[in-house]
Amino acid sequence: MEDYKYLFKVVLIGNAGVGKTCLVRRFTQGLFPPGQGATIGVDFMIKTVEIGGEKVKLQIWDTAGQERFRSITQSYYHSADALVLVFDVTSTETFNALPSWLKEVEQYASPKVISVLVGNKIDLASDREVTNEEAETFADTHDMRLLETSAKESDNVDKLFLDIAVELTNNVRNSDIKNSLSEDPIRDHSSVSFCCRT
């Protein structure tokens, strides 16, 4: 009867206009909405993927980047399994805002949360202000994975969410192992497939 085995909550955060909603839309609906307006409050999307033969449902909460919605968006960090911290590689400002975002994460999110750093808009290579090295260094110092994406070109978008799903699934399984039979952790994406429309 259950249509999924695991349910994970993924919350996207980052400054306004870095492309959080576009990433979510690209992943869940496969489209890139040009002229996407600013998100108000929190948006919600769902996507079910199959990982290692098991259906994993991702609840994706797409938060508003504007500061005025900070109070409501912060309340969504708490229950997140994974946080996607997005910045815009064509804007140093959004990159510089990352430490304050991390501070918020530390303050509001659960300690077990996985966070992934995402540099979006790599299609705009000519306007690039934040180099890959800078971002990499930042990610390393804060013990995060870095992924550079383009919601427009669909680069790395699926990988981003699927990596998260795989990692979360492995985490859950590893904790399951302790009280049940061991299962091989999933090592690559070959076993991963999309299964559902929303």
Binding site: F44, M45, Q59, S71
Partner: protein, 832 residues
């Protein structure tokens, strides 16, 4: 099993066939009603099958949602709703699980119709009162999703409205469902309230901004209206421990959305909260706002002013419940902000910008706006008044004393005289600040005072409040002195006479026109005046002869005098007041008086006006006659000696300084008139001697002001017996006997010592240093002895907070009570 024989037509169990039968072949046809009735009947009669029916329906729904067969989805939900309403049995519990799963499924969908459908079902479910506890049910997702729906930003306005409405209803449903059941999730947890409250506020504000939104037939269909009632609903259910989880998100939301300025919306929100919060907790809201004000300490005065104004608005709603247990804390906070604002204003916005962190320096770079600070201060004062208004009277006195205690006092009396003389040394760096702070605090005090209704003078003016207040009444700044007088007005006045008296008008021919309300003063009040009348008089006198007085000062002081007369003017007190008036006249006629002509005329005017009032109030014919005669004379030949008072106008240079005797009030005529009506006039024959600080010592450096104050001591010691001995002779009490004994001793010794002090001072001022040094050795011993005498007497006397001469009633030893006296470095000063 009776069902077995019916199973032939299908292999499916009966409940599945019943469920299947409610779905028509074409979803357009809608629910098959007759079959639905059968299903309902079956479910009601076979409770144990209910969870299976639910499971099967959920399964079908999943499939239909996935295949986007919306028609069937709608039918499934209809069926679910009907079953839910029909079955109130215990087994509903399991059914609910599948029901919630279906709602969940619908809410996950991207289609607005399905989200709304799911919400509506959920709302219906929330209205069902379950009688069995459900331990493992969680609403996390529902709250998150409903809150997200409240922020829906669909391009289509109608869809947006509908989804937002659905979200609000959903949240309301969750609250309703969980709040009453302690076994369920704690809806008051911050993780939930941080989602719920901002969602309400966001919708309230959306509608607040656009009043022109199309009017719907049902106000319930407007998100802002619904959000408002949702918030009130939540507030109504909040217990004490939960209030903060609601109010904190509210404050945070208003911060983040910058809704403090303008504060219309914030006021609306807080009014809503105040009206709906349980009345015994009403004080919590102002408390949180005050805390929030503290957090905004460094913010712009505009925001702070808005917060304070909101406080003022909501305090009235709370009535007596707004203050709670920490009365002083509230006033302390407000006064602290007042003080900080004044400091800020003085330093031109520089005071706090240095210690502000670099991150907020952008904000501080905003141009410092003095006007905003002033408006903020006014708002604080208003709010203090609003708080005071809801306090019981006895607490108002405490608050007034509390505020009085915060007012910076003039250091000692001689320093005020220094300032009066515009002495260069009086330009202290803090001077301006003190005046501003005094100004603000006294305005607050006035605000509290106006809310207070005096019953008895003695309770209104406890010594620790009365004394500093009178001290403030003679400080330099004329503006502040007016405020002090106004405070006195509002506190002395008990029968709304002040508006009738407080005007700069001419002589009133018929006092009845003023419609004053007089009642005989109570015994306690008379006792009070006996005790403190002399102080009152001294301060009034001192006040009137200040050179810096403006017309306002004169009018205000006249009003105080008139109120004293109206409220307390019986028998001997009346005589004292007449005496004061006559003393003022004498002072104004004194050729040595250095006051400008305009001020002298003003004093004459006040005396005339005052005696006219007394005459008419007492209605003693001969008194009235004398007074009106003098006034008539003045009207003919010297109209400048009559009110209205105006010291700002230039007097013609030809105006005479002296006043002809027939233009003056005569003590003999007045005392005769008073005596004729049975007043005891013996004290009238003793002239009122007003003692001012000698000013010849004031040219000394400030560090020596102690010596100056000693001079004052002895002057007072000399004068006090005359001015203070006011008991009618026939009143032979223990007190009066004691007084005779004490004053007998004091008279001689005080006179003696004073003479010696004056001698010494004289020599100090006129001799050379060598002479002094030579003389000092010989006198040293004698001086030491005298000093011991003085210290002995001084230490016996009670002390008053500020170093001012008190004129205690005759029964207490007549000493000057000044703290610095103890610390005098007398021997050194005397040697050199």
């Amino acid at each position: 099993m009776p069902g077995c024989c019916n199973c032939l037509s299908s292999c499916k169990p009966r409940y599945k066939r019943l469920v299947d039968s409610i779905f028509p072949a074409d979803p357009e046809d809608g629910l098959v009603r007759s079959n639905m009735e059968k299903l309902t009947f079956y479910a009601v009669s076979h409770n144990e099958k209910l969870d299976r029916i639910g499971g099967y329906l959920a399964h079908r729904l999943d499939r239909d949602v996935y295949r986007q067969r919306i028609g069937y989805v709608v039918i499934s939900m209809q069926a679910l709703d009907q079953l839910l309403l029909a079955c109130h049995a215990q087994s509903l519990n399991l059914f609910v699980e599948s029901f919630l799963r279906m709602v969940h499924k619908l809410l996950e969908s991207n289609m607005p119709e399905l989200q709304i459908l799911g919400t509506n079902s959920f709302v219906k479910f929330s209205q069902i009162e379950e009688d069995t506890p459900s331990y493992h049910r969680t609403y996390d997702f529902f709250i998150s999703k409903f809150a997200s729906m409240c922020h829906n930003n669909s391009d289509h306005a109608e869809t947006r409205r509908k989804i937002r409405l659905a979200g609000l209803k959903g949240l309301q449903g969750v609250v309703r469902k969980t709040v009453s059941d302690e076994l369920q999730v704690n809806i008051w947890d911050t993780t939930y309230m941080d989602k719920i409250v901002p969602s309400f506020l966001f919708n309230m504000n959306e509608g607040f901004d656009s009043h022109e939104s199309p009017v719907h037939d049902h106000p319930e269909e407007k998100p802002e209206v619904l959000a408002d009632s949702c918030l009130r609903d939540v507030m109504r259910r909040a217990a004490y421990a939960n209030i903060h989880t609601v109010i904190k998100p509210v404050l945070k939301h208003l911060d983040l959305h910058e809704l403090w300025v303008p504060n219309n919306f914030a006021i609306k929100v807080f009014k809503g909260i105040m009206y709906s919060i349980q009345s015994q907790y009403r004080y919590v809201t102002p408390h949180f706002l005050l805390l929030h004000l503290d957090e905004h300490m460094k913010n712009t005065p505009k925001i702070k002013r808005s917060i304070v104004e909101i406080l003022k608005e909501i305090v009235a709603i709370a009535a007596d419940g707004a203050v709670g247990p920490s009365v002083l804390e509230i006033f302390n906070t407000l006064l602290r902000h007042l003080r900080m604002s004044v400091d800020e204003r003085l330093s031109g916005g520089q005071a706090s910008s240095t210690d502000r962190s670099a991150s907020s320096s952008k904000k501080t770079k905003q141009k410092f706006d003095e006007n905003e600070e002033i408006l903020f201060e006014e708002a604080i004062i208003d709010t203090i008044g609003a708080f005071a208004n809801i306090l019981p009277d006895y607490q108002k006195i405490e608050i007034m004393m509390f505020i009085m205690g915060k007012v910076p006092m003039p250091r000692d009396r001689s320093s005020t005289v220094l300032q009066e003389e515009d002495h260069p040394l009086s330009l202290e760096p803090k001077g301006e600040g003190d005046i501003l702070v005094q100004d603000m605090l006294l305005k607050s005090l006035l605000e509290v005072g106006t809310k207070y209704t005096t019953v008895s003078m003695a309770t209104t003016f406890p010594a620790s409040f009365f004394q500093p207040l009178l001290n403030m009444s003679v400080i330099t700044n004329p503006g502040i002195r007016v405020i002090v007088q106004e405070i006195l007005h509002t506190l002395i006045d008990r029968r709304d006479n002040v508006i009738k008296l407080y005007a700069n008008r001419g002589i009133v021919k018929n006092i009845a026109d003023l419609e004053l309300k007089c009642e005989k003063a109570s015994r306690q009040d008379i006792m009070f005046m006996r005790k403190h009348g002399a102080e009152f008089q001294w301060h009034i006198f001192e006040n009137l002869i200040r050179v810096k007085n403006t017309t306002k000062n004169f009018v205000a002081i006249y009003c105080t005098m008139a109120l004293l007369c109206v409220e307390l003017g019986t028998d001997d007190i009346l005589v004292d007041l007449v005496k004061l008036a006559l003393a003022l006249q004498d002072h104004a006629c004194d050729p040595n008086c250095k006051m400008p002509l305009t001020h002298l005329y003003a004093i004459h005017s006040i005396v005339a006006q005052y005696l006219n009032l007394i005459g008419q109030l007492t209605a003693i014919p001969s008194l009235c006659q004398h007074i009106s005669q003098v006034i008539e004379e003045r009207r003919k030949s010297a109209p400048y000696l009559l009110p209205p008072i105006s010291v700002e106008d230039k007097v013609p240079a030809t105006s005479p300084r002296g006043v002809a005797p027939d233009l003056l009030f005569h003590v003999d005529s007045i005392s005769e008139a008073l005596a004729s009506s049975g007043h005891d006039v013996t004290r009238l024959s003793l002239p009122y001697i007003h003692v001012q600080e000698p000013q010849n010592v004031d040219t000394r450096p400030r560090s020596l002001t102690d010596v100056g104050s000693i001079n004052v001591d002895f002057e007072l010691l000399h004068s006090s017996p005359t001015a203070g001995r006011k008991r009618p002779p026939e009143e032979v009490t223990f007190e009066s006997l004691k007084q005779v004994l004490i004053s007998g001793i004091n008279d001689s010794s005080a006179e003696d010592e004073r003479q010696k002090r004056l001698d010494v001072l004289h020599s100090f001022q006129n001799s050379t240093l060598d002479e002094l040094a030579a003389a000092a050795d010989t006198r040293n011993e004698k001086w030491q002895q005298k000093l011991n005498d003085i210290l002995d007497t001084v230490t016996k006397s009670p002390q008053t907070p500020a170093g001012s001469p008190t004129r205690p009633d005759p029964s207490t030893p007549l000493q000057f009570q000044s703290i610095p006296t103890y610390e005098m470095k007398f021997p050194e000063l005397c040697v050199y």
